[in-house]
Symmetry: C2
Subunit: 491 residues, 2 copies
């Protein structure tokens, strides 16, 4: 992939002087349109060889365009808060919102490439990381992010010359350190691994552009023009077009997942109280287990029919653990900042660090439940969400999280009884809204969506626990017991 | 302050059973109104003696009300990212937005009280911290936050009994640790210091309520009722009333601050280039000085007349430093999440950690410039902003930041020339808007606002640097030189 970039492209002073002002103006205009439309963000990844003009290009882009709408982020060592979360967390927190240009200097490619070069990972490890990246970038692209990936290249000889030049000049001498020369020794390995990485991740929706870094004028014009063309062509596209994807045929044979739940089980109040004490005590002990929480975090999420008792179950958990360790995240409509990001962004920002517990009252599954049923997103969007969510949970799990997912199910009759009761009990009245009654009318659609969700997202690492919640006592005990057992298994 | 709380208040089961449902209902209604109105946040601080029911009360409040609109935060040890920023940063990042109830379990009182008890700070240190807290809470209250402070109290005898009780019961035994008994030995010192702290910080806008923690029913009803009454009375108040504060008489004798600037100085392009190289080089060396950046961060802020060359000056700084270390924050209109918080919140969230540089293109001074001149906030609001800003900068400085503030000034004639030029140069056209022309008509009002700002916020720790920017070259050199010298002085 680097052959063309070693041809020694050059742009003369004259050509540059003629083209630069026009390019600059066009970039500014495109950037202005981008900021006005606020329809999508632009994300530019900058990678490649040291001395090939990465930093210079980043500075130039900031100079050419309006810096108020560019956010440059450089990724060095992870902070504590970053290191204690899944690997991708630090990148998610720095994604540019719609209307802005984000430049990432170093990215999710850095760690996989470097660790392969240093022999810290093997071929299979690298392959796994790259596959993950391809899926992640596809998701970004499906979510509307305009992703541009630039790789700045120099041949071995060019890099050596460049470093010598920098060293000779007293004003730039500081830019070349011993560490850079150490790294230079690994040029061949670095070249081989990065070529492989680029090839594997150069897909239609997010191709790499390898830029010959030897001539400043050439590389500046190349990056600028490509950025311009990409922005312009994207801005001209009419509003987001739903790809024509048919809804999958309803596999009514999976409805048994919910319908076969035994809703008749009950326990007595006395038994409930003994069991509650037992499992709350167990959960409490586990939540104070330092050995466990040094390596792990706990993510609990609750979905369920309206009035199925999510809140009650959550309070039985929080009642057993120290308020310093948990956080309940009630999921309501996204804020302005959240709407300007891919839909998983608002959940990523709540991912707990090690030693902490986050309880989601409703969750990212809204995408394949309410958003599917109510048509808030297109068919293609909720269909791809299953695998995106599986990827998300896999990343959390790999980052040390135990993910427990609960679906609380009640029958339509029981729901009606609870709705009516809520309306009668004045201090519960806030719990019942017109929307609940509207949702109830779509019982069958929701049932199908739930069964599809369980079918497609109940994984070995993050299985769904279906809870027959007709009897609240039973449901709460099952929830507490499940959490305690998952934690014990991880110890 | 604890006498009344040791009287042994009790509420019988019967009274509680009668009052609790009503209180619950009223609290829910008030909370619902709060969430609907989104006019102000409620912030509840929970402090006091261990075993006095702090945790139980927090859980109860979450049970009584709708947990979707409550955010509970407990503050243990600071994380890396918190520890590397000013002390108050971690509290700012957890402030509840308008319409929500935030409960802080542990707060800005914890550290000052504990370190005094342990003898790590002296009387004067405690006094300083408490005065700072009073100012901070006054600001919160002025910004509309409904602040409630509860202190849960037990007499020494009661605490001992309580801990013994907890220890006897096998289900609660875990709640009492060796550490708790160690702390119990310091009961008297803790009581003395906290009584002092409470007295000093019990001011009209944010009084403490000391709650007798010995009887669960009593303390629950007490907290619930007080919360209810405070929310109700605040909700009934008609929209934010501007306190009648007169604008201060215009002290036209401070206009000399700007008018006396020598705008005629110039340097040649050749000299500029030599100087630029020199100061950029110096800045670069300093920005890579590990000794410095282990203890410090750098905050640069730019204000100035429109077209005074802020962007150009900023680019000369960024051109000299590694993109991995800085971040430019262009200050535009606040987002929805930012509007739901005190005005300084959006700047606190950008405060750099040690080793990092943040450059603000416009800043918190908007409060006393554009917001004052355009009447976006009341007279009382911008008048109090001077001292709030001084407090803010003092906290940053104490947290290790070097704060450099630049005002770039040009003459009205020069501005007209630049505006006209910008309109002619097509790629600079985006830089000039109708608003710029409107602002220009208010030249005199802005001039007064700027002079007042400099008068009131140029402090020893965070002085203003006035830059005669008629000559861009000269202005850029002065900026670079100032930063380098401030950094050198701190080394």
């Amino acid at each position: 992939m680097f052959e063309s970039a070693e041809l020694g492209h050059k742009v003369t002073k004259q050509v540059y002087a003629r083209q630069e002002p026009k390019l600059r103006e066009a970039l500014l205009n495109a950037q202005f349109d981008l900021a006005q439309a606020k329809k999508f963000p632009v994300l530019i990844l900058i990678g490649g060889v040291d001395g090939a003009g990465k930093g210079e290009t980043v500075n130039l882009l900031s100079e050419w365009m309006d810096p108020r709408h560019i956010q440059t982020r450089a990724f060095g060592d992870a902070t504590d808060e970053e290191g204690q979360r899944p690997r991708m967390w630090r990148f998610w927190r720095e994604l540019p919102p719609k209307g802005k240009i984000g430049i990432m200097f170093g990215s999710w490619y850095t760690a996989p490439i470097i660790s392969r070069v240093l022999g810290q990972s093997d071929e299979a490890g690298l392959k796994g990381s790259l596959e993950e990246i391809v899926r992640f970038e596809k998701m970004l692209s499906d979510e509307g992010v305009l992703l541009l990936k630039f790789w700045f290249h120099l041949s071995k000889k060019q890099q050596k010359t460049r470093m010598r030049e920098l060293e000779k000049d007293p004003h730039t001498r500081w830019r070349v350190t011993k560490f850079d020369w150490e790294r230079f020794k690994m040029y061949d390995a670095f070249r081989k691994v990065s070529e492989h990485a680029l090839r594997e991740t150069s897909v239609a929706t997010a191709p790499w552009t390898v830029v010959d870094g030897s001539d400043a004028r050439y590389r500046s014009l190349t990056v600028g023009k490509l950025l311009l063309e990409s922005m312009k062509s994207r801005l001209q596209k009419s509003a987001y077009k739903e790809r024509r994807v048919q809804a999958p045929p309803l596999l009514t044979d999976n409805l048994g997942l919910l319908r076969d739940l035994d809703m008749s089980q009950k326990i007595t109040k006395e038994k409930y109280e003994t069991q509650l004490e037992k499992w709350q005590g167990r959960l409490n002990l586990l939540s104070r287990e330092k050995k466990y929480f040094k390596k792990h975090s706990l993510i609990l999420l609750f979905e369920g029919s309206d009035a199925a008792g999510k809140g009650g179950a959550i309070r039985r958990i929080t009642g057993a653990i120290d308020a310093r360790h948990y956080q309940v995240v009630p999921v309501a409509a996204p804020t302005e900042e959240e709407r300007a990001q891919p839909y998983l962004w608002r959940f990523w920002r709540q991912v707990p660090r090690r030693g902490r517990i986050t309880i989601f009252d409703r969750s990212w599954y809204g995408r394949v439940l309410v958003e599917r049923v109510e048509g808030f997103c297109g068919v293609a969007d909720w269909m791809r969400a299953y695998s995106e969510i599986n990827d998300f949970e896999e990343q959390m799990t790999r980052g040390g999280a135990i993910v427990c997912k609960f679906w609380l199910q009640i029958s339509a009759e029981e729901q009606l009884k609870r709705f009516t009761l809520r309306q009668k009990t004045s201090f519960k009245r806030f719990k019942i809204t017109d929307e609940d009654w509207r949702n109830r009318k779509k019982w069958n659609e929701y049932e199908q969506a739930v069964c599809d969700m369980i079918d497609r997202t109940s994984t070995e690492i993050a299985p769904w626990t279906l809870v027959a919640a007709e009897d609240k006592y039973l449901a709460r005990i099952k929830v507490l017991k499940t959490i305690a057992e998952r934690m014990e298994a991880a110890l």
